[in-house]
């Protein structure tokens, strides 16, 4: 038995000897009572110590959580039982009574009772609500080591060093202490009597069974949660299983294995297992039914003292010399794998099932794996091979083994795997369609095996390899404890290596470009060449991960679903209330498996990570879409954007003016800043704005700010620098008005206004300065008047020497009229995208309208096509097989010939396999193809068909490079891809009917609309030629092909007529008008016919043929459609109706029914004889019989063949 298999340690603590353990029933907490008198409260999930309780004196041996209340109880060597509240973090009260060490304490599951076992040989039951001793159970004659309530019945079981286990009936006690609802007198008497008998200590709790069998002291005993079973552990190193009935109890069996005192034991809460722990440093797991050892977990140095089970989830804890460990017996991660839209997984019952993401349905059981591995060990991994529909399952049982099984086509209930191949190995995965790799960790080899389970190659992986994963085509990812290697299977060497510790799982992105390496607390994202892209750390365990289609990794921890982008930005998507394993994310749904291996769908809001992703990819449209369509607001995203340097994008989200202002300033968006500043109107903001605007050189905003701030000095200076003299003088006036002389002086100085300055000096009695100013500017009169005013003479003054008078420079450029070149980037790419998007939207609207129009056109076209003649002779289609050469004989020859010599190529077969001209063309048999066409539709002029012939021929051959030095191998492309019978294979046809209708035909329409008839004509002819050499898949498609031919022929004729008209000399007025009229006859689409009619109407009007024009106008109005055309027609109509006469006589009878001869462009009136082209149906006067059709330019007019064959 391997010690390593199965044991999954989840938490370990270091402390002194742990004597008592209790799991919290709901929270991830565990209480540990220590030999050192401390009680610790741990969060085993986070690995943190929550609290310590230190009121006991000496070792604390027993501890238990209350099931519902925030309470726990402890009992220690100080003889005290203490009840604590972990909320208030203090001891509520102490129960005294025991006379020696207390070994165990347990709460009752529903009554307010505590049971305790003590070295004073008694077991006592206490009421913790009224804090009283209810009952003392005596009988053991040595230390009572353990006492527990039965989880349902009124029983207590106890173990003692007197080598016995006792079962006590406490129903009497319950009766006595249950709430006295309505008690009769008798009851009361009874009760009083009971109380009395209680004095003898026998009726409340009576010994029901004494179980003797251990021949040393018994350390622990426990009830089974549901069955009438008891398990006990003793110093005789044995684990004993006991069964009891109503009347008796007996020993069932003994589990032997511990080689030192067994200190603790319990039943597995959900499975038929017994767990025991002992001083031999082992934890042992036993099969309850067979009493055989299932697992042994050995610890190096520490003796185990106690073991406990979590009541709900699959967790256990054991206390030893140096602390506690929390562990699981088995992995709860269901083995699963995803292929396209299917999840394959293994249930707890070891059934392989699949789940369809799209349909959200589980399949029935595909396969049962009951026989795989040991019954107690679930399979570890599942690898799926879609091309073989096989699964590869590994299990850690028996030292690791794998099994390769083909899945049945359909699930048909629990079918046991019949056809399976198995072998030893720790990991096994498919690496190619027909290969899988198996890792054997003990021998450190990797074998590559084929589907027959034969080893095709084998190699030594890097030292210490613990696991292998798929590494992209032809590669393996080899996991060692400290690194991941990308290993090339073919070359047998490591091609890349990355140092990552403890990788446990590898998750590939859907496009195979990235992989996420999951270890306990880290996610490392690598490229397919094993270059590290990013890494992140979690404080709690990472359980699973899956990739979004857009390249976002979603991963689950114990309690969250989180995301990370390739650049390492991450965040929380949602919280989890139970552990799940993610398998797929699609839109708002996260698909996962829970611990019971049931597929579940979690709803998430992907907005945040999609937005961040769009931001990283600079996909502004996507961002815009998200902004417009979802409620992505909140401080976090703004902070994120700001932090990432996208204030301009953050700006789009914010409504709050202050924040908006800040952001606008930050990204230099002055317009928004101004708007916000106006709204808020605070001096501080204006100041900041002015500084920012000045930095941008946007002086008009600066001006506004200064005005708002009433910052006159700065404003004046701004006007000076911008050369705005008008405003500067107004500033001077304002200064004067305000009586601010300094300001006035400044403005005068800026303006160079000497008089004003002198005047000002005089006003404030600064005559010396006034005089000096006047003098220096040579204003003598002014000087004199000042002297007069002051009563001084010039001689009395002591003047300094003057320099040149200063004058402010005159502005050269009127800068104030426009801003300086401003700092760029005021508009972000994003905003541009926003603007662009707006335009785009309107464009889209337009196209949508166009699209609708087109649809309508198509509809009308369809109608028109349906209108088209269907009276074609259908019987003709079945003929023309006479030319098919006798294929059978030659073919059989090839099959049977055995020796050398060349065979016939597939291309030759095509001509034999098909009666269609196109298949002969593809096979290179041009002569027979021409023969066929000649017979079917009377083709005689093949020259125009040459490009089509070569096109078809060329399309069917590929060139496969094979051996070096030899020409490529020619292979033949088929339209019958599934077919491999050489008698049925047929070549691929380029530009099939569908392609022609959706590409060439649309191009032709477009050119028609654009009035580009010169280019349009060849397009329609080309359609005719392409349909002629073509094949279709069904009879209904034959009809469609005929419609296409008719339509193309009508357009060809129409365009030919109009082109002829345009080439006419202007003098040939009559013919011009006739051709314009005939242009309106071919059955082209209504919008196009409108164009023809408009053209004819305008021409007629211009040449005063009002009567004819009137008929055109009427036809236009009857057709309806574009209002513009209709308006024109209406106006023409009114004009024509005033004078319904024709100036030029033309051969065009608007009331007669006729068709246009394609050769002469003259009318063929209904009833007259005509000839036609057997292929395109164009009509001719009889005299053209025997000429080449002018429409298709291939067939002979009047030659009636067997009809075009397009479908074999």
């Amino acid at each position: 038995m391997q010690a390593s298999s199965g044991m999954l340690t989840k938490f370990e603590s270091k402390s002194s000897r742990a004597k008592g353990i209790a799991f919290h029933p709901k929270r991830p907490w565990i209480l540990v009572s220590l030999h050192s008198s401390t009680i610790q409260l741990w969060d085993y999930r986070m690995g943190t110590l929550i609290d310590r309780f230190e009121e006991h004196d000496g070792p604390v041996r027993g501890v238990d959580f209350h099931k519902t209340q925030p309470l726990f109880v402890s009992g220690g060597d100080d003889y005290k039982i203490k009840v604590w509240s972990y909320q208030t973090r203090r001891c509520l009260f102490t129960l005294n009574g025991h006379l020696d060490y207390i070994r165990t304490v347990f709460f009752h599951h529903e009554l307010p009772w505590i049971v305790s076992a003590s070295d004073d040989q008694t077991i006592r039951i206490w009421n913790w609500q009224n804090r009283s001793l209810l009952c003392t159970m005596t009988g053991h004659n040595h230390y009572a080591m353990c006492a527990q309530f039965h989880p349902k019945e009124d029983l207590v079981v106890s173990a003692s060093l007197d080598q016995s286990v006792r079962v006590w009936d406490i129903s009497g006690l319950r009766k006595k202490h249950s709430a006295p609802t309505s008690m009769s007198f008798e009851d009361q008497v009874n009760r009083a009597n009971q109380n009395q008998t209680d004095m003898f200590g026998n009726t409340d709790a009576v010994v029901k069974f004494v179980l003797e069998g251990h021949d040393r002291g018994v350390n622990w005993v426990a009830f089974h949660p549901t069955m009438p079973l008891i398990v006990s552990a003793g110093d005789d190193r044995l684990i004993k299983l006991w069964r009891m009935s109503e009347t008796k109890a007996w020993e069932v069996d003994t589990c032997r294995g511990h080689f030192a005192n067994a200190s603790g034991c319990l039943f597995h809460p959900h499975q038929d297992l017994i767990l025991s722990a002992g001083e031999d440093k082992t934890i042992r797991v036993w099969d309850l039914n067979k009493r055989t050892a299932v697992h042994t977990f050995k610890r190096e140095n520490d003796r185990f003292w106690v073991i406990a089970a979590h009541p709900e989830i699959n967790l256990f804890a054991a206390g030893h010399d140096n602390g506690v460990m929390v562990f699981k017996l088995e992995r709860e991660r269901p083995a699963s794998t995803v292929y396209q839209n299917q999840l394959f997984y293994i249930t707890k019952e070891k059934h392989v099932k699949s789940y369809d993401f799209q349909k959200n349905v589980e399949s029935p059981t595909l396969l049962s794996l009951k026989k795989l591995g040991s019954p107690w060990v679930p399979p570890r991994t599942l690898s799926y091979n879609p091309s073989e529909r096989a699964v590869l399952v590994t299990t850690p049982a028996d030292g690791g083994s794998y099994e390769l099984i083909n899945l049945p086509r359909e699930g048909s209930g629990a079918t046991d795997a019949t056809d399976s191949r198995r072998g030893q190995g720790n990991s096994a995965i498919f690496v190619a369609r027909n290969r899988f790799a198996v890792l054997n960790t003990s021998s450190q080899t990797v074998d590559i095996k084929d589907l027959q389970n034969n080893t095709t190659r084998s190699f030594k992986p890097p030292v210490g390899t613990s696991d292998i994963y798929f590494g992209g085509t032809g590669n393996l990812l080899i996991i060692t404890p400290t690194a991941v290697h990308l290993y090339d299977i073919q070359q047998k060497k490591t091609t890349a290596e990355l140092a990552v510790n403890g990788v446990k799982y590898v998750v590939w992105s859907n496009d195979g470009l990235y992989a996420a390496l999951l270890s306990k607390h880290n996610v490392t994202i690598v490229s397919k060449t094993l270059e590290q892209i990013s890494t992140l750390h979690e404080t709690i365990r990472i359980k699973s991960a899956t990739w979004d289609d857009a390249g976002v990794l979603l991963y689950s921890t114990l309690n969250h679903v989180k995301y990370t982008l390739l650049n390492g930005d991450n965040g929380i998507v949602r919280t989890l209330d139970q552990t799940v394993y993610l398998v797929r994310v699609k839109g708002r749904n996260v698909y996962c498996l829970d611990r019971s291996a049931k597929p579940k769908i979690l709803q998430i809001d992907p907005t945040e990570y999609r937005f961040k992703l769009a931001l990283v990819k600079r996909n502004y449209e996507e961002m815009l879409h998200i902004i417009q369509n979802s409620s992505l607001v909140g401080q976090s995203i703004i902070a994120y954007l700001q932090k990432k340097g996208y204030p301009e994008i953050a700006l789009q989200f914010v409504q709050d003016p202050t924040t908006r202002f800040e952001l606008a300033i930050e990204c230099g968006n002055l317009e928004v800043a101004v708007e916000m500043a106006k709204q808020l109107d605070r001096p501080k903001l204006w100041t900041r704005l002015s500084t920012e605007a000045l930095a941008h050189g946007n002086h008009s905003i600066v001006e506004m700010c200064y005005q708002k701030l009433k910052n006159f000095d700065k404003l004046s200076f701004l006007y000076l620098t911008t050369g705005d003299e008008a405003k500067l003088s107004r500033m001077a006036k304002i200064a004067e008005h305000r009586g601010d002389f300094t300001s006035r002086f400044q403005n005068a100085l800026y303006l160079g206004e000497v008089e004003d300055r002198i005047q000002m000096f005089k006003e404030i009695d600064l005559y010396p300065l006034a005089y000096m100013t006047a003098k220096s500017h040579g204003l003598e009169e002014e000087c004199q008047s000042i002297l007069e005013a002051t009563g001084l003479t010039e001689d009395q003054l002591n003047l300094p020497t003057f320099g040149e008078p200063l004058a402010p420079p005159k502005p050269v450029v009127p800068t104030f009229k426009a801003n300086w070149p401003t700092k760029a980037t005021s508009q972000s790419v994003f905003e541009k995208a926003l603007l662009g998007q707006m335009e785009g939207l309107s464009l889209e609207d337009e196209t949508a309208v166009n699209g609708a129009g087109e649809e309508a056109e198509e509809a009308t076209m369809g109608d028109a096509l349906i209108e088209g003649d269907e009276d074609e002779d259908a019987a003709g289609w079945d003929m023309g097989e006479d030319i098919v050469p006798e294929a059978e004989e030659g073919f059989v020859n090839v099959e049977t010939a055995d020796t050398g010599g060349a065979g016939s190529s597939e291309a030759d077969l095509w001509a034999r396999n098909s009666p269609l001209a196109v298949d002969h063309v593809a096979g290179g048999s041009f002569e027979t193809a021409m023969q066929l066409l000649n017979r079917q539709v009377g083709a005689v002029n093949f020259v125009p068909l040459k490009p089509r012939f070569l096109e078809v021929y060329q399309a069917s051959k590929t060139y496969l490079p094979a051996s070096a030095g030899l020409p490529p191998l020619i292979n033949y492309v088929r339209r019958t891809v599934e077919e491999s019978d050489p008698r049925k294979v047929l070549p691929i046809i380029p530009r099939d009917l569908e392609h022609l209708a959706s590409n060439d035909l649309q191009l032709g329409y477009k050119l028609m609309k654009e009035n580009n008839l010169k280019d349009g004509l060849p397009v329609f002819r080309n359609i005719l030629h392409s349909v002629l050499i073509n094949a279709v898949g069904s009879d209904s498609e034959v009809a469609e092909a005929k419609k296409l031919i008719n339509s193309a022929a009508e357009y060809t004729l129409a365009m030919s007529i109009e082109l002829q008209r345009r080439s006419l000399d202007p003098s040939e007025l009559q013919r011009t008008l006739e051709l314009a009229a005939y242009f309106t006859i071919p059955k082209i689409q209504v919008p196009h016919r409108q164009l023809a009619l408009l053209n004819a109407m305008n021409l007629s009007m211009r040449n005063k043929n009002y009567n004819t024009a009137l008929s055109f106008a009427n036809r236009i109005l009857a057709n309806g459609g574009s209002p513009k055309i209709l308006e024109t027609a209406r106006r023409a109509k009114t004009q024509c109706e005033r004078n319904p006469n024709d100036a030029v006589e033309i051969e065009f009878d608007q009331f007669a029914e006729f068709e246009v001869c394609a050769a002469s462009f003259t009318p063929i009136y209904s009833g007259t004889a005509y000839e036609e082209c057997a292929f395109d149906g164009s009509k001719y006067h009889t005299k053209y019989k025997g000429t080449v059709c002018t429409v298709c330019q291939v067939c002979e007019v009047g030659k009636h063949g067997s009809g075009l064959k397009l479908f074999g």
Binding site: A955, T958, A962, G965, V973, N999
Partner: protein, 295 residues
Amino acid sequence: MDPYSAEGELINIHNHFHQGQYTEVVDFDVSSLSAENALPARVLQLRARIALGQAEDVLADVQGEKEPELEAVSALAEQALGNNDKAVEIVESLAQSAGDNATVQILGGTVLAAAGKSEDALALLGKHEGSLDAVALIVQIHLQNNRNDLALKAVTEARRWAQDSLLVNLAESWVGLRLGGERYQQAFYVFEELAQAPATSSVRTLVSQAVAELHLGRTEEAQAALDQALKKDPGYTEAIANLLVLNVITGSKTQQELTSSLVQANPEHPLLTDLNEKSELFDKAASKYSAKVSA
């Protein structure tokens, strides 16, 4: 031990060669090889250089060498330089003197097959004793002769004794692409596996993958693979040729430029010669017909 087997020294260089990774072959470090494998390795490198268009250098390199292997290489080089007759001459004399030599068989077979003497080539290759190279050539020659049945036989036989070999996989895929049906997909798997793994990817495997996709009717994927190939080597003729074919199938219109680049890369390419031939055939056949009345 067979040096080309999975455990042999030459497995990697040999695989590189057949995956069309000629540069890797030339750059392969042969210094550590044991003495008996030095010559085969050299032959592989010389062949790779010929494939890379360095036939003249190779010819100079083997000038005056007397080993039949190297003489056979010289024949291959001569043929690559266009001296077909001389090449055939050398091979014919080698076939007499050293017809048992595996290298002579393979290179001789290649030269003869390329010269159109497929029966002689098959006769020479038929002498092989468990050489997969020879089997691959035999398969290809049969396919060229449209003897799919014989090619299939050869490859099925080889699979019995060398099932995981690269060459058997390749040869089987060649046959698969000819036979079609389910085998298209199988061939595709083989080529894709080679083309998409960085260690084995080459222009040749990419084009092979594209061809398989084309046969499977997956034109978009084929386009992607061809683009990938042309990115690696814009002058690779088979990539251009197959892209031409693909464009015809999808009805794209960018043919002129491609055709001229194909003419530039290899004016003798079967696609071009075939097309010219057919063009003449067309004109001849079309001339037999005319309208009763000329307009």
